[in-house]
């Protein structure tokens, strides 16, 4: 798993449409290597569309997606699958499949008709099981796992794909708090092992805590990007979600925490309070 300093994935003025509706228009963005990048923004801001565009699920109507400097759509699909893995938001697996069998599907890009099983497959699967902490569950049916375990099994399938890049679309959307932490911890470990991770996250607090790099989107455009502290400011939050809030620093990690969130246009009083809020927030940071 190589982690060069050059951005492994980026877009060149891509336009993405749903039918005739333009979601993203001429967007340029790059993602830092070896880091966890979280894309955040309000509902319908185009963050999932962007992720689907990056992973070839959604074809751009114009522009290019560059994988290590080459246009992703000019490369053979299987070659791309060896470099870039995606965990979509909605996952459905065949019935009656065990965890180990699911993970084995991650080896698909590395296999061919006459090369169905090799040492590398075996090691990759064992490694994925171990990384996702699923060793004891390998032979369980996927249906019988808890939500967090199942999500880890899907991530393990992407790990077995052995790609330097991993894209995740709201990996914790249906999970309770404990399971969310479980999944995010795993994502951090993967980043520590050198993977470049790009994920769409709904929960700002989680994004701030677990990502190195945030990209805030609204209306198909990037409003701000940078470290969590640079991006999570009262001004940006107001432009993203139309809310006022105060920020505190997490006593352990220093990540920004949102408190006292209220609608921006609620009353004159809260508007008047905004400047002092900002000062407080700056103090807190």
């Amino acid at each position: 798993m190589s982690s060069s300093t050059q951005a492994p994935l980026g877009t060149q003025s891509i336009t993405l449409k749903h039918d005739d509706h333009v979601i993203i228009d001429g967007l340029d963005v790059t993602f830092p290597a070896g880091k966890v990048t979280a894309i955040v923004g309000p509902n319908g801001c185009g963050k999932s569309t962007l992720l689907n565009g990056l992973s070839r699920v959604h074809l751009p109507s114009s522009g290019h997606i560059l994988l290590n400097g080459k246009d992703i759509h000019s490369m053979p699909a299987k070659q791309v699958a060896k470099k870039l893995a995606l965990l979509p938001q909605e996952t459905s697996a065949p019935d009656g499949i065990t965890v180990r069998e699911l993970i084995r599907f991650g080896r698909h890009p590395h296999q061919s008709l006459f090369k169905q099983w090799g040492m590398d497959d075996r090691t990759a699967i064992e490694f994925a099981l171990q990384a996702a902490n699923l060793e004891s569950l390998g032979d369980r049916l996927l249906d019988t796992l808890s939500g967090g375990q199942r999500q880890r099994a899907w991530i393990a399938m992407s790990i077995a794909q052995e790609t330097p890049l991993l894209l995740l679309d709201e990996p914790t959307s249906a999970l309770d708090l404990g399971h969310q932490i479980e999944v995010f911890d795993l994502i951090r470990e993967l980043a520590a092992a050198g993977k470049t991770i790009i994920m769409v996250v709904h929960d700002l607090a989680m994004a701030a805590r677990y990502a190195d790099h945030l990209i805030a989107m609204k209306g198909g455009e990037i409003v701000a990007q940078g470290s969590p502290k640079q991006v999570i400011t009262p001004e940006i939050l107001e432009s993203l979600y139309g809310v006022h809030c105060d920020l505190l620093a997490d006593p352990h990690t220093g990540a920004p925490i949102l408190v006292n969130v209220r609608r921006a246009h609620d009353s004159g009083a809260s508007k008047a309070a905004a400047p002092s809020d900002k000062k407080q927030a700056e103090l807190a940071l």
Binding site: R100, F114, E126, S158, A193
Partner: protein, 356 residues
């Protein structure tokens, strides 16, 4: 936590598989599938021998086997090899073809009900073939016409169904509509021709193995074989169709290309099978379903589907010849009487979390 590639010196296959390995290749063989397919083949053989013995001249299995290997008296040899064997082979080939086609189509639409018969391919192929038989339109042979019909019905269903496999229901309803129009057209064609021609064509439109043109049967055999081999070659990637489009893409396959190849194989097999045996579409539902039951719903049991389809077809023909003897019930009618309630049962019983 430390992440390290743990490696052991011994390469063991995943549990339940045999590993066939040489310098340049490694193949995984599903142990359970191989055992199952051997058993099914034996069953097919036995049923075949039994069915060869039944008729106006009834023969013991021993006589049949002797005749097959070229011994026994010439009368028996004639009856078995010249009269009955062709019909049996036609049943095996078309049953296998229908069943593989059904299995693939179900996988594409992610819905076990989406078999060629239900989504109108059979009826369209039949309508085109009837047109050829009653002499309307261009003078193409029935099988070419049937193939054209099957292909155009599928294309239409796909266009109307939105071209997506994820919304199977739309595809199915579009197919149902196409099927009923095709059936109406067949009725129309038959009602326009002379009553004797219509009567001749009648058993054919419900699906039958009697009086098949002999020279077509070896052709059907080759087509079924090629279809089966190709789909086994592609089986590994067809399995990915059980996942969502995003996962398919992420694993390095283009979903539409996968679907196209599966549907193309399915259409060719169905088209030729309809041209030979008429619309016996419910085999395409029952065959794969049997195979999945035996396979405990693991993987994509293409070979088992083919064998089960052949068994169902031969059994149905066997039943059709013997139950109401001397009247012969066309095999399509038998499969409808068996398959219809079966389909209803699938619909009525508690739906599982996933459809396939």
């Amino acid at each position: 936590m430390s992440l390290s590639h743990s490696s052991s010196a011994q390469l063991t296959p995943p549990s339940g598989y045999w590993l066939l390995r040489s310098k340049h290749m490694s193949l995984l063989l599903d142990r359970q599938a191989i055992r199952r397919n051997i058993l099914l083949s034996v069953a097919l053989l036995l049923i075949g021998i039994l069915s060869l013995g039944v008729g106006t001249l009834s023969l013991s299995p021993k006589e049949v086997v002797l005749a097959l290997i070229g011994q026994g008296d010439s009368m028996t040899q004639f009856v078995v090899n010249e009269l009955r064997l062709n019909r049996l082979l036609a049943g095996i080939y078309t049953g296998a073809a229908f069943s593989i086609a059904g299995c693939l189509m179900q996988t594409v639409a992610r819905n076990r009900l989406a078999t060629p018969g239900i989504i109108g391919i059979d009826n369209a192929a039949m309508a085109f073939a009837v047109a050829s038989v009653v002499g309307v339109g261009i003078g193409l042979a029935p099988s070419a016409m049937a193939l054209t019909g099957a292909a155009s019905a599928t294309a239409l269903a796909f266009i109307i169904g939105g071209g997506s496999g994820t919304r199977g229901y739309r595809f199915i309803v579009a197919g149902l509509a196409i099927g009923s129009v095709s059936a109406a057209v067949s009725q129309l064609l038959l009602s326009q021709v002379h009553i004797d021609t219509a009567n001749e064509a009648y058993p054919w439109t419900v699906g039958s193995l009697s009086a098949r043109p002999e020279e077509q049967i070896p052709w059907m055999g080759w087509i079924t074989l090629v279809g089966m081999v190709v789909s086994i070659f592609l089986c590994q990637r067809f399995q990915l169709m059980a996942f969502s489009d995003s996962v398919m893409t992420a694993l390095g396959r283009t979903p539409n290309r996968l679907r196209f190849s599966a549907v193309a194989i399915s259409v060719v097999l169905t088209g030729f099978a309809v041209a030979l045996a008429g619309p016996v579409g419910l085999v395409a539902l029952v065959g794969p379903e049997m195979a999945r039951t035996f396979a405990k719903h693991r993987g994509l049991p293409l070979v088992s589907s083919a064998l089960c389809g052949a068994i169902v077809m031969v059994l149905a023909d066997f039943a059709g010849r013997t139950l109401l003897s001397p009247i012969e019930i066309p095999v399509g009618v038998v499969t409808a009487v068996v398959g219809g309630p079966y389909l209803l049962w699938i619909l009525i019983r508690k739906p599982k979390r996933s459809t396939l």
